[in-house]
């Protein structure tokens, strides 16, 4: 086939077919439209204001690596006036996270951004390696997911940032819409397409790549030769998400707009008032002060189960009930005084001089 010219500049050779539009464009035009679309997403949703301190949730993977690169570029190009930080969570997974954190440390240098790493070990007293050795490979993703979410907020509080941005892309969000529909999780279905979420007293969290296709993120990283890490977690992957993912990729192969269409459907769902009324009211955890829909937040319940050798306590309602029944019957020591708990959550540290950043390697 003869080389086709770029549909935008009509000069250079087309190198990529955009999945969203089918447009065939050259490398430079691709960089420009990709970055501009992210800029438009940011400005239309009014995500930031000048002077904001923003932490980029960085795993070393493709999405967060491209996000860090693009956020830095846009911040400079359009004078957002943001102070950018890299924030990484070390789950304590030998042979996986330790390697990907090396990538983040290189990104810290490449992008000259301060980096903060917060570990599960430091915050909860348990690494994922140790959790898996106790609970096995079946439910470990529940621990990891709940612990990561809270760790990101706490890491962000340590950096006293206003905002966390994550690399969730259009494919991720479409997957989540499908999963929430298939699980009947109405509360999550309602909020999973929101570009920005904010709990009662937690830090704003948003997804500048909400409309960015995974294909384009990977092509961007490839053409820019960005340094990223791509190994699957060594513990059993989230099987349910895996099915949703394969299904979505099959749909995309037939009709590339499927991804953006599913996000659109997710956004258009409206939850009836009487359903909303049955949803739990947000409160703060009595033990650690983090936002929660019960007296005790999920992370505290999970941690207590681990500490008391009843790992199921936080996974199933039945497990939680068992734990409380034991308490009532005095069978187990009722929440022992020396039980490891999560430090109390405070949004803004009074002194910002306490921030401990990773030394530049």
């Amino acid at each position: 086939m003869p080389p086709r010219p770029c549909a935008l500049c009509a000069k250079a050779k087309a190198m990529i077919k955009r999945p969203k539009t089918g447009q065939q464009i050259c490398k430079d035009c691709f960089f420009y439209v990709f970055e501009t679309e992210v800029h438009n997403t940011i400005t239309e949703a009014k995500l930031f204001k000048p002077g904001d301190r923003v932490a980029i949730g960085a795993s070393g993977g493709k999405d967060s690596t491209v996000l860090a690169y693009v956020m830095k570029a846009l911040n400079e190009r359009y004078n957002y006036g943001l102070n950018l930080f890299l924030l990484s969570i070390d789950e304590g997974i030998t042979g996986y996270r330790d390697d990907s954190l090396e990538t983040v440390k290189r990104n810290q240098q490449q992008y000259s951004m301060p980096l903060k790493i917060l570990s599960y070990e430091e915050l909860y007293g348990w690494t994922m390696d140790r959790i898996v050795s106790q609970v096995g490979r079946k439910n470990n993703c529940t621990f990891c997911g709940v612990f990561r979410r809270q760790a990101l907020d706490r890491g962000a509080a340590m950096l006293s940032v206003d905002h966390i941005v994550t690399g969730h892309n259009a494919d991720d969000i479409a997957e989540t819409v499908l999963m929430n529909i298939m699980r009947g999780d109405i509360a999550r279905l309602g909020r999973c397409t929101a570009i920005c979420t904010q709990g009662e007293d937690t830090i704003r969290r948003s997804k500048p790549f909400k409309y960015a296709y995974e294909k384009e993120i990977v092509m961007y990283a490839y053409f820019k030769k960005l340094d990223y890490f791509s190994t699957e977690c060594i513990y059993s992957p989230d099987a349910y998400r895996g099915h949703a993912r394969v299904f979505l990729k099959d749909l995309e192969a037939v009709r590339p707009s499927a991804i953006i269409d599913i996000i659109h459907s997710g956004e258009a769902f409206e939850i009836k008032e009487e359903i909303k009324a049955t949803q739990k009211v947000q409160q703060t955890c009595t033990r650690c002060g983090y936002m929660s829909s019960n007296a005790l937040c999920k992370a505290c319940t999970l941690l207590e189960g681990l500490e008391r050798g009843m790992a199921n306590a936080g996974i199933t309602d039945r497990g939680t009930k068992q734990l409380r029944m034991q308490d009532a019957a005095g069978e187990a020591s009722p929440t022992p005084d020396n039980l490891r708990t999560i430090p109390f959550f405070e949004l803004k540290p009074t002194s910002t001089t306490m921030i401990c950043l990773e030394p530049t390697p």
């Binding site: 086939m1 086709r4 050779k13 087309a14 190198m15 990529i16 077919k17 065939q24 795993s59 993977g61 493709k62 999405d63 967060s64 690399g167 969730h168 892309n169 494919d171 991720d172 995974e214 294909k215 990977v218 092509m219 490839y222 053409f223 791509s230 190994t231 699957e232 977690c233 993912r245 394969v246 990729k249 099959d250 995309e252 192969a253």
Partner: protein, 118 residues
């Protein structure tokens, strides 16, 4: 016409794990291959019965000769599994005719998995 062509193949995004954890491979492929992409070494293509080696043949060849494990994560129904990007000399293969692109001596083909964690 030369009887073989040399090409370079690269795997990334985690796909290299299926290929002996090696990212870069140099291959010599027959210039003319069977229409059904049979990759057996001793297969004879009758005069006028073959086609030039193309990307579809390359995918079958990689699956049959280089892949170490879990073929279903790479190939599906005669093409790559959805979620794997293919580049022909740094251009999206969707612009080059995908599997029908006829390989030329010195071509560089890149396979990138998008299915690994972000």
């Amino acid at each position: 016409m030369e009887s073989t062509i040399s090409i370079k193949v690269e795997f990334s995004g985690g796909l290299e794990l299926l290929f002996d954890n090696k990212r870069s491979h140099e291959l010599a492929l027959p210039a003319v291959v069977p229409l059904n992409n049979d990759t057996k070494k001793d297969v004879v293509v009758a005069e006028g019965q073959g086609k030039p080696a193309d990307v579809a043949y390359l995918i079958a060849y990689l699956r049959d000769h280089l892949l170490q494990e879990r073929a279903e994560l790479f190939e599906e129904g005669g093409t790559v599994r959805p979620g794997i990007l293919v580049l022909v000399n740094d251009t999206d293969w969707e612009l080059e005719g995908e599997g029908e692109y006829a390989l030329r001596d010195g071509d560089e083909i890149v396979f990138i998995s998008t299915l690994h964690g972000g």
